[in-house]
Amino acid sequence: MVVKKDDDESELVFENLEKGQVIQEKRAFNETPVHPRKCSLVISQFLYLLSRGDTFTTTEATEIFFAATKLFQSKDIPLRRLMWLLLKEFSLLSQDAIIVISSLTKDMTNPMSLYRANAIRILCKITDSFILPQIDRYFKQSIVEKDPHVASSALVSSIHLLKVSPEIVKRWVNEVQEAVNNKSNMVQYHAIALLHRIKQHDRLAVTKAVSTLIKGSIRSPYSQAYLIRCAVEVIEETNTEDPVFYDYINSCLRSKNEMVAYEAARSICALKNSSKKEITSAVSVLQNFLGSSKSTLKFAAVRTLNKLAQTNPAAVIPCNVDMESLITDSNRSIATLAITTLLKIGNESNVERLIKQIANFLDDINDEFKIVVVEAVTLLSQKFPKKYKHLILFLNKILRDEGTLQLKQSTLDAILTVVNNIPESKEIALTELCDFIEDCEFPDLSVQILHLLGQEGPLTSQPSQYIRYIYNRVLLDSGIIRAAAVNSIAKFGLLYEPMKEKVIILLGRCLLDEDDEVRDRATLYLQLLKQNNTRELTRLLVDDVPVPLVNLQKSLEHYINDGDFGQAFDLGSVSTVIESMPSPILEGKSSKQTSQSGGVTPKSLSTESNDGAPESYSTKLAQIPEFSTFGKLLKSSEIVELTENETEYVVNCVKHIFKEHIVFQFNCTNTLNYQRLENVSVKMIPSNPKSVKYECSIPIEILNFDEIQSCFVAIRYHPDNLPLCNFKNTLKFRTKEIDPSTGEPDDQGYDDQYSIEELEVSVKDFIQRTFVTNWKEEFAKLPEQEPATFALVSVKNLNDAVKQMISTLGMAPAEKSETVVPKSNKHQLFLSGKSLSTGALILARARMILDQSGLNTDVELTVKSDDQNLIDLILSSF
């Protein structure tokens, strides 16, 4: 062996390492006798590749795994140690890893503990429910071993095995109990963790075990912290009054170990039934930590206080001074949490000073944390509406300082929220924003602000002061901003009569703009203003687009691509349902995370995940040959949930209406990680079999864990006899258990079914929301109809009544009649829609009044249409 003396000149072993080359070098494993150093180097190289992120195919992994098994012959300990590690890393990638079980069980009998500890870790990784019973004595033996290395390895392995074969691991409970008495702190900790997990689903057993352990002599910090968590769990789940659990937590509060004391304090703050005295002592422990030199301890304390401030702000007030000193902490996560906590416990008298204080340190905080602060300040606007001036000025400072678009967008959103919540803040906010757009580097923000100025400016006491700022944009900015400014100017002309003449002059100056869009808009608005066509201007400038913009964009693209311009584009044909299928499971998870993180959740997490634009239903359905003869998709319903979100299988449904067919799209999610479902379909039984005819059903072939896929059922109906009925639904499928060691399903499986909720097809499914420009005129034109009167039982306020009417009828509110005047006890709602099949216009007027008891809402509903049949159907839905 030649070893170079000069290290600096030697070639680095791992630089430019190539996977293919290393795989070749594995032949060293086959040489006899084994060269420990050579093989060690090859294994090291594999480990390096893995840590660098290289991936291996199943074939490669299997070859490497099998080659490495040759090294079981070697007695060289360092080599064996590396070999075990390599086998462990590759055991999940390789096929037939089970082959090494006999070699490993031989290692289990080796007198050296190193052999046994490592062998058991691999055994745990490659075993499955079928093999485990044959080798479970090795686990039992190891768990009770005195040697802490082996015992810990066995216990930690068993924690993982519990997910694979819970039944078998549960049989080791006596051994685990014994291991709790092991002298090693870590063994004790692992044993307690495993014991708790084994008994987890048996409340009584957990209660008993925990109360025994509490009385015992558990001394290691990790074990104590774990026991505190268990005690909290028992208290929360059983509502026990037994003082033993509370006493234990309280005694831990006085522990010299920070981890234990913190865990106790955190638990007391989180428990609902903690007494005032207990909370006071917990808070004083945390207060102590706030002054610690360790960042992690400070962070833990302030994080817990932040959470407590949400439910019990008064309890946190004693820490005020300590937390104020943390505003300048160099660990910004601590500073940000301190700020948000202080804002939560702030009161009318100190909030002003607090905001000033925070503003001074803003420059030291990076944008991610500023967003958190901005959100906390926005919340203040609800608590202290009188302080709006300081809030707006504070937010405006952030808006003007250097920052990313993301930060500025959040800040602008915050200002808009404040303006919406506190009308008095409008003028000061608009003035500040006018200043801001004079020097704004983000066109997106300028456009939004110009929109706001046009919307709110004309309604203020001095509309004229804003127009100069807006017109400056026309003179100085890019096309997109100039176009927005033209809109804004035109709104002043429309909404504030005294300025109309001036607006006409200003718009006239825009007629020669070099940008087509700007010229077009100016010309259009100028003409309409000169003609005094308020109705058209209102429609163009003030009314919101009545459909989601994404859908409008798609429909327009579709219309243009079709190339058939014989018919004008119909806004009514744009779906009002936002077509996306967020996974209910993922949603649930993410919301949980938000609540845990105690306020520090970056915006980017949620915004980025929404990037994937949903493919439209009609495109998707058109790709399915069975449905190709159904014609044009007329309407897709909203998503109807047919299960709870936390069940084994989550199913929801979308109804697609065609001229003579209905396609039910069932979106199914399999939430069981040990099952694979095959041939998944829904059996539907109609309550009125005569009105529908079964057409076809398209099952899901394979539904893996955590996947969303759709199966379909199609029925046929006659347009003159709408199939208004309920369907009883059953999910049918073949289920196969997944073998956790291989990830493959077993061969057989069995058929199973799962009841899901009923689904209703009602008249609203055959009505399209539509928009009429002058509802009252149109309503007067249609033939008179007798009104129907009825009561909405236990609808106690008009807002709910409006919502219920809109959702039952599936029609669009007109004339902004969906907003109820606050505190009034009667309301008129105007709705418009049209028949899917005939296109006949339907208008409905609902006069609503709270009845004398105040518990129900009386409704007088008048439905008008040229289609008498439809009127009857609509009235029958109440």
Partner: protein
């Protein structure tokens, strides 16, 4: 569980990463990006093995500096900031121990990654804390070839 261990240089280039929570590569990149944004400005403050902390997306990350390296450990549930800080100690000690001859430099660390993997294997088992005392960890990993392996030596 303990979700992730990342080791980077001062430029933020990742030298070692281990995801115990087996999230998709996309999520890993997203996590790394956020981690960078949340901590970058404070890296200098972690000199002298000072443990700093940040929190986002439902997990807490404790990080520190040793030699030319930055170490990040993130976890959730029972592995809170205090536990993670505790776990970071044997990890730091392992790196110092295996690089003790030439100091903790980037190149020297890379040479020793296989040995580091061995140490780490004793500290964390699939996201669960196994051993937290460095002496025990170092005993268990017992790898006797402690000079770096060289190509030429074969």
């Amino acid at each position: 569980m303990i979700n992730t261990i990342l080791i980077t240089n001062w430029n933020g280039n990742i030298l070692f990463s281990k995801y115990y929570n087996s999230i998709t590569e996309e999520k890993q990149i997203e996590f790394e990006k956020l981690l960078y944004q949340f901590t970058k400005d404070e890296w200098l403050n972690s000199k002298g093995e000072k443990h700093l902390v940040t929190e986002f997306g439902g997990s807490v990350t404790v990080y520190t500096n040793v030699g030319d390296l930055l170490l990040f450990v993130s976890g959730s549930d029972e592995y809170d900031e205090l536990a993670l800080s505790d776990i970071l100690i044997p990890i730091t000690d392992s790196i110092k121990d295996m690089c003790k001859k030439k100091g903790v430099t980037e190149t020297h660390y890379i040479e020793q990654i296989p040995k580091f993997v061995l140490y780490l294997d004793e500290i964390i088992q699939r996201g669960q804390l196994d051993q937290v005392q460095f002496e025990i960890v170092s005993n268990y990993s017992s790898l006797k070839h402690d000079q770096p392996l060289k190509k030429e030596s074969l």
